[in-house]
Amino acid sequence: MRLAFSIAMRFLSSSKTQTLLIVMGIAIGVSVQVFISSLIQGLQKDLVDTTIGSSSQITVSSSENNRVEDWQGIISEIASLDLPTDLTALSASADVPVFISSGDRTLSVLLRGLQFPESHVIYKTDNRLIDGSLAEGDGEVIVGKGLKDELDVNLGEEISIFTPDRAVEILKVVGVFDLGVASLNKNWLISTIGTAQSVGKLGDTVTSIEMQVSEVFRADENASVISERLSGSALLVTDWKSQNEDLLSGLNGQSVSSIMIQVFVIIAVSLGIASVLAITVVQKSRQIGILKAMGLKDSTTSFVFLFQGLALGIVGAVVGIAFGILLIIMFSTFAVGTDGEPIIRISLSYGFVMLSALIAIGASTIAALVPARRSSKLSPVEVIRNG
């Protein structure tokens, strides 16, 4: 075995250009894998984050009258459940559609009564407040940046709103938020639950209980557990996956195409290694013949080529990972948006990098099987007879 290894190393180092070419081939393959998969993972994470990062991922609402009774009870019941993936946020909200008149126009907006501070996890209301303070007392409200401009109100001023049943309420603007989404900034008023309840005449009910989970793609599993627990009541449990099928199939398509690219890269790299090593068998047939004449066993001859494949795979994978990480760093440094942030926040998964390295090493060794077999079948007589 030692001999096979040292012959393999000698064969590789004696034809440096050839060795360098295969190593580069493997390295480029691995780096493409690492880069593409990290890019697509980053892209998906970004996409999921923008789409559902600041909204409810599992929602409990009423299927009948838009009112959820005993919401504190339901919240503590959900909190006590043993769920497939942990909840990162759990809060109630009372939403009331209202109208605001601005000059000669009437704007339709949503007054969202949120449960502070629990709802900060979902809406980041604390971080996204750009002016003033949070709505804490009754009758206080914070407005979106867009709505503030449209209404032309200042902090401390009062606005009057109409509820659907034509009641008029006066609310005081205490802060301005920017949720990063123009439509929300234009359409939301945020207050405490109490304010919204009294405006909407909801009594002590809310309109929904909202949740976020740590593993977003398992939200549906949680939803079914919760819905089983709440069955019997007139409550409806929905999760983001059932309502975003387009997004999901898009993400799926990306994953599949990423896997396809990787599979073909692996195949191309393996074919390259197999063909170069097959040529090496021919190039080195004289040496193999003489080694066999001196008593080298067929199995040891095979190991010479397997070791070559293994060594090429290991070096190629290491260089490839370095290349891939370099590519990612370059991409994150140079492909930046106007705010100086990278266009796509690339996430490097160490597990995947290791997997990709192992696949490359495995593929190189398997690719070396064909030449290894050929070399073990080579007869010394043929070499000696033909010179």
Partner: protein
């Protein structure tokens, strides 16, 4: 004296569709420590005979005994061990491994045995290289040596495992007459010094004349067998 190689009714047929019989039943006994030559025109079957004696090729029928062991029923791995331990080969085109230095080439057959070279074997390799006068080029890669140096390295390599038999196929065929004479007298010397049996295959009558026994092969049969 005991026979080191015994061939009994060796026949060799090449081809499956068109069958060509190259050896027509050769009987040959070679004594231990002898120094003989096998001569014949090219195509006479002498190389085939050598390959069969060296267990590189299997006869179509007949029996072979090498150092008392019947080899024609052994499997490939057993044959490889026999070759490694009992037979040293010297070929016309030297066949050193160009990726290795002269010294590494010399100890290769020992490493093929699966052993880590001991101090003794390193010493033995150095001694052999001194005997064949290649100590100066011991760290040269094979391609950086002259033809004569390469052939002498090949001889040292053939001797490293202290084999009972050296099979030399046209060992001087590729060398000029001066070097050729030196290599020949070296083999003669080694035969006396270590008692190794030398079987030299050649088509050169003048070389054959110098050996103790000349076996002439013609058309796949032993035509002449002269001992002196």
């Amino acid at each position: 004296m005991a026979n080191i190689i015994e061939l009994k009714d060796i026949k060799k047929v090449y081809g499956t569709v068109v069958k060509t019989e190259v050896l027509h039943g050769v009987d040959l006994e070679i004594e231990d420590s002898s120094f003989l030559s096998i001569v014949g025109q090219s195509g006479s079957g002498k190389s085939t005979l050598m390959n069969i004696m060296g267990t590189l090729d299997q006869p179509t029928s007949g029996e072979i005994k090498i150092a008392g062991k019947q080899t024609n029923k052994m499997n490939k791995n057993e044959l490889a061990s026999v070759r490694n331990e009992t037979i040293g080969f010297i070929f016309q085109f030297h066949y050193l491994l160009p990726e290795f230095t002269a010294f590494e080439n010399v100890i290769l057959p020992y490493r093929i045995k699966g052993l880590k070279p001991s101090k003794e074997i390193m010493e033995r390799a150095k001694e052999l290289m001194e005997v064949v006068e290649i100590s100066k080029v011991k760290d040269n890669l094979a391609p950086n040596m002259s033809g004569g140096q390469q052939q002498r390295t090949a001889i040292a390599r053939a001797l490293i495992n202290n084999p009972k038999i050296i099979l030399a196929d046209e060992p001087t065929g590729n060398l000029d007459s001066d070097t050729s004479a030196k290599v020949f007298s070296l083999m003669r010397d080694l035969n006396k010094r270590y008692g190794t049996t030398f079987v030299i295959i050649t088509h050169d009558r003048r070389i054959a004349e110098e050996t103790d026994r000349i076996v002439e092969i013609r058309d796949g049969n032993i035509f002449n067998d002269i001992k002196r």
